[in-house]
Symmetry: C2
């Protein structure tokens, strides 16, 4: 009878993927931030789904993780 | 001998997908903008890859087109 009334938002999906992919590569937030040309606290806030991140910055993170931009938004 | 040295940017992929999907649904920029709660000129600028659109607005457009957010960024 349960129904998923609250699917994950795009921000939440990105946050989870970012954390997972970063973790699998053994990178700290700071290391990923450096690779992407972003600030560590910014990466942290994206991983908490607090930021309305722009497409250019999603792309920077994807390039640093060596994945396609779209895969950061896949469930 | 040709090599693709300039893959499409995430903005350009989004622009193309948005235009294609909107066209297939027979929607004008204005109609899509209304459905997504955005302005027509804003949608136009996204379709020209001029805007550094945010994840929340990509999600609005995806919902209006009834596709997953990630599919707007797939090549």
């Amino acid at each position: 009878m349960t129904k998923n009334r609250n699917p994950l938002s795009a921000r939440e999906i990105l946050a989870r993927n970012l954390k997972d992919m970063r973790g699998k590569l053994g990178l700290s937030q700071e290391a990923l931030a450096d690779m992407a040309g972003l600030h560590r606290t910014y990466v942290g806030s994206v991983e908490r789904a607090e930021r309305n991140i722009s497409i250019d910055n999603i792309e920077r993170l994807a390039k640093a993780l060596n994945v396609h931009t779209s895969s950061l938004l896949m469930e």
